[in-house]
Amino acid sequence: MTSIVATNQTILVVGGGIAGMTAALEAAETGKQVVLVEKNPWLGGRTAQLYRYFPKMCHPTCGLEINLRRLKANPRIQVLTMAEVTEITGTAGDYSVNVTLSPRYVNSKCTACGDCSKAVSTEIADAFNYNLGKVKAAYLPHDMAYPQRYVLDPSIIGTADAEAAKAACKVDAIDLDQQTETLNLRAGAIVWATGWQPYAAEKITPYRYGEFKNVITNVEFERLADPHGPTRGKILRPSDGKEAKNVAFIQCAGSRDENHLRHCSRFCCMASLKQTHYVQEAFGDEGKSTIYYIDIRAIDRFEDFYQKVKANPNVSFVKSKVARISEDKNGDPRLWGVNTEGYKRYSEPHDLVVLAVGMEPAVKGMAIPAALSEGIAADSSGFLAMNGNTGVFGAGCATNALDVNRAVQSATAAALRAIQVVNQVARAEN
């Protein structure tokens, strides 16, 4: 049974992505008690699944290493993974929260030696790599997974594979009897940092995602470029493993579209500009990128990044929302549309198409606990908006379409708002 120490001066942070980790760390490094709840078996969220950041082209895992070190060094943060908040009652300064923990089937004795994985034969879709590859059903989600502990996929529980894994573990870390459990804990303030999800590309039917293998999304492209990814960083297209040297990027795939996402997701333009670098990095002058766009939104300091890409003769820009994609006999996706700068029709084949899918708040459609919805309302896009006097505060991409930098600012601000509440509680009690 998991045990957690929490009082009405504890800050509960929901979501262990970069926004949640930031809120938790900033509060803890200011001396506050924090409980951090994450539904994945690991921390880091979507930034951990990126290869590089714009505009520096540096690696998100570098910042993740620092944040994990801050976390390991800080006794004030209690982390719950594979955990979801199922109920919140009470008011600012005194919340009662139910957290449901799914079984990991691996306990804290795990040394991440990997013996269980060797013993298991079942393979499952590799969620960390957006299902582009497969992993053993006893797996370490990724090399920087924290907690550094293996996970047994529920699908093998009760099978010989599970027993094999248990038998292979020399340190008795596998506990097949683990059950779903629900914890109740107190909190004075809550930071809601549940992040975002890529818009479901199959809903943009003219682009035939899911039907044409060589039409993928921007988040999947990150995994293709990453040395930790399914192709070990080689940019190979799914249909035939051919090197994708001629890549099309379709902007506003879902965003700025009243049939899909009514808002602009802000990060996608920069993400595609960044990803043209991946193509260049992989194939040099043989790598060609074409960006189909409505407006290039390389906002504020990012402009010069855009100008540099624009100056690259291997990257071209077409002002056009692509109308539809068809598939040539050789598997090349063919883009149909009109370049609206002077009405030029095109019907262009490419090796690979990357849909710059937009950002949908993870809270959208999620059953927001009652006490939370009192304090926070969702806007027409499903983002959380502050709403009057409450002890619950949105942070990061749960509140708006933000890039990493802005998400971290938002989370830092949310940490202070939470501290204001618990400080009031403290003052009241002294």
């Binding site: 039917t205 003219p206 035939r208 039907e211 539809r324 068809s326 598939e327």
Partner: protein, 298 residues
């Protein structure tokens, strides 16, 4: 299953001796088997069709559809209006939407309708026959009456435009609607995969801009052949006519050897349900569907 009753809107081209009269014949056979009761809307008129925009303008077109709806409401109260022609269905359904969303348009239409001694109180549902088959019966129910499975026959389900956009059949995608494929499969036939399923046949421009229409029809027929289809099946009279009738002209222009039958789903269903070639109006096809005729003859 109890007999299902509908207010039927056949549309001009379905009339005796008109370009899709074979559609009507086959629909009647199909309905007989499925025990569908179609009562024609008394003295119905033309829907105005899309092309009516040029001369007709907005309100006169609304009046035309309004009249049909008023007649249906008056003589066949409580029944859904069912159309077999894609254009009739779309035009009438668009009219319903506009009248329900604009008080001004409704008021003006009512005033115009008074001239014909009619008025609207409740606008009935406006549905296409394909919707009725799928929603009120379902694929399983449509399989039951099959006596002559279409085993071994390959169909290109050509959905075209107006049963698909902007309303479409519930739950289908605009780019790759599957209902015709499922329909064919539920009759034991094979639905081939091809990529011009929703390409426009040129519609009324087949008359005014033949080259453009022919180019589009060529793409459609070509990809049906590439998909390995024996015949094309469609829910729309204009699609049927355009894709069937211009194959000769296209062969002349492009040196192709097109000669693929284009049928209505209702003809195919009638045959599968055991109707004769005549009942399925197979004789109404300019390019004869020999395989189907053979099957019907068995």
């Amino acid at each position: 299953m109890a007999r299902k009753e509908y207010a039927f809107y056949p549309g001009c081209s379905s009339q005796k001796g008109a370009s899709s009269s074979n559609y009507l014949t086959s629909v009647q056979s199909m309905c007989k088997t499925l025990d569908i009761g179609l009562t024609e809307i008394p003295d119905w008129n033309c829907c105005g069709a899309s092309i009516g925009y040029a001369e007709g303008g907005e309100l006169p077109r609304l009046a035309l559809s309004g009249r049909n709806l008023a007649l249906a409401e008056k003589h066949l109260p409580g029944l859904d209006v069912v159309a077999t022609c894609a254009a009739c269905w779309l035009g009438t359904r668009e009219a319903k939407e506009r009248l329900e969303h604009s008080d001004i348009l409704l008021r003006d239409t009512q005033i115009a309708l008074q001239e014909a001694g009619l008025n609207i109180t409740v606008i009935p549902e406006v549905r296409h026959m394909a919707e009725v088959l799928i929603e009120d019966f379902g694929y399983d129910a449509l399989t039951k009456p099959v006596t002559k499975g279409l085993d071994g026959l390959k169909f290109a389900g050509y959905v075209g435009c107006q049963t698909n956009r902007p309303f479409g059949i519930d739950g289908e995608s605009y780019e790759n609607p599957k209902y015709l494929d499922k329909l064919v499969e539920s009759l034991g036939g094979e639905a081939v995969k091809y990529d011009q399923k929703v390409t426009c046949c040129g519609g009324a421009l087949a008359f005014s801009e033949p080259e453009k229409a022919h180019a589009q029809i060529k793409d459609i027929v070509e990809s049906a052949y590439d998909g390995g289809a024996d015949m094309i099946v469609t829910p729309c009279p204009l699609c049927q006519a355009n894709v069937e009738l211009y194959q000769g002209a296209i062969n002349k222009k492009y040196g192709t050897k097109f000669n693929i039958p284009v049928l209505y789903y209702s003809q195919v269903m009638a045959v599968a349900y055991g109707s004769s070639a005549k009942e399925a109006a197979l004789n109404g096809n300019v390019i004869r569907a020999k395989q189907l005729e053979a099957l019907a003859g068995k």
